[in-house]
Symmetry: C2
Subunit: 295 residues, 2 copies
């Protein structure tokens, strides 16, 4: 078997980003942590940590870190069945992949309802969050992908509704004659990052064509709304976050009654089903209460 004291030191360095903080977490000296990581690197004949600020894992280091987390998880499942085994170390940290707009709308409430555990959230586009699960880097994901990843269960959550929105001044400036393919090609839009296809998807649905246009790149759900309010561009914003602004007239829908519903699914690894049971219940309950019926 591998030496788990060495592996725990490695995982703590990669997770906290420093030898000092890893030492604090493990209640040993930084030089003990350093020796353990060095010994592991010598035994495996490869560099595992890129020393820097913060320290990060090499691909081999990250793979080992992931293995340590999987073993911790199996231990926590074991402890449910054999309560006599003492728990040592911090509570289990559950790593999940979530799309930014779910985090900005309903996901924190689900986290708060889940029983005591620590969350490590990775943000990625709903079209890509399942990749983290496929690579074994997270235990569960909120994703647009319905098809279960191997070894995972998939449950529909409902649809997150988006509205194409802009400020009234922006609409007056760029759409004086109405919203059509010509005016859309000139009006600056907002794009979250190169994975964000929502604006393109909406123009396709509403106008039958993907329309190229100038764009701002703005990787934050809240900044997307702030930028729309400030008149920088139009963008697809979650209805839940802009309902008040639409009511008060600070934002307007580019085309009334033309929302875009994005179906979301909760996919989770079967290996961790017991650890995830409470979280899964909370996620399904919150999503059921806030998301729309699947289109």
């Amino acid at each position: 078997m591998l030496d788990y004291a060495l592996l725990a030191a490695l995982a703590a360095v990669i997770r906290t980003g420093s030898f000092e903080r890893a030492a604090q977490q493990l209640h040993v000296t930084p030089s003990a942590v350093s020796q353990r990581v060095k010994l592991l690197e010598e035994r495996l004949g490869t560099v595992l940590v890129v020393r820097g600020s913060p320290c990060t894992g090499t691909p081999a280091g990250q793979r080992l870190c992931q293995h340590v987390e999987q073993v911790s998880l199996l231990e926590s499942e074991l402890r449910h069945e054999l309560p006599g085994i003492q728990h040592s170390g911090p509570p289990v940290t559950v790593r999940l992949a979530v799309n930014a707009d779910s985090l900005a709308t309903w996901f924190v409430d689900a986290m708060a309802e889940a029983p005591d555990c620590l969350f490590d959230l990775v943000l990625d586009d709903q079209e890509h969050s399942a990749d983290w699960l496929r690579r074994g880097e997270v235990l569960a994901a909120v994703t647009a992908s319905a098809k279960p990843v191997q070894g995972c269960d998939s449950t529909p959550l409902g649809a997150l509704r988006y509205v194409a929105t802009a400020s009234p001044a922006f609409v007056r400036r760029y759409f004086p004659e109405g919203v059509d393919t010509t005016s859309l090609a000139r009006a600056p839009r907002l794009t979250f990052n190169s994975k964000d296809r929502l604006q393109a998807l909406w123009t396709e649905r509403a106008f039958g064509a993907e329309i190229a246009s100038p764009t701002h790149w703005l990787p934050s759900s809240q900044a997307f709304i702030d930028a729309a309010l400030a008149g920088l561009g139009w963008g697809m914003n979650p209805e839940m976050l802009v309902a008040g602004h639409l009511r008060d007239g600070r934002l307007v829908a580019l085309v009334p009654d033309q929302p875009l519903d994005v179906p979301l699914f909760w996919q989770r690894s079967r290996i961790a089903s017991r650890t995830l049971a409470g979280i899964t219940r909370a996620v399904l309950r919150k999503a059921g209460a806030t998301l729309h019926q699947m289109p």
Copy 2:
């Protein structure tokens, strides 16, 4: 000289993430874009684009993309001096590195006041945002680093004030006897990512020691506040974003009158000073109106 028609095709593919969208942007067919990129790869004898969804640049591809952006910028500076030169193509896109909390508080207003241009924002910790400038990947950065990066000017912006905050229920549960090093070691905290040192910095200032404790990892400014409100943990939140919650008692300061002021600087590349002049004015004005005096 390099063949800029080929380079423009490469840059469009890497920026938009797909050959189809690059084609739309350049008003040519996808197969023309594909041929240009292939020709460039053959000439340079190296792969430049990782074909995927989205398409991304190899290190060599990214370096060339950066070069194209620098040349576009120089062209735009030239156009100011020689207005007879016709502008072709989309407006200049200005790539900036900003810390998430500046984006969540004052930066969008500055963007809205800057004259017409497109923004491409990269989010990174204020301790690391200057690295993007150092690597030549952005033209300017909001950063905690005062010392000018080579070839850049640095101007102090003021300090973003943070308050260690949690919900009243969280304080009752984890700090019934008050906030001290023992109770802080048990109370779950919020951490943005492995670069985020603010919670550690505050415990150091307030209690003379870095305190290890369980943590949630939550890479979003708004989710940080939502998680504090929901009682998941305590965290350093920008005073501007939590002032209302503190007033209404939905959040409380862990230690009254113990804020943490983080000084910020605007560093921008001298090569782009003309293009950035309007943005720089707007950034200095907005920061002056919203940030605190430097500590």
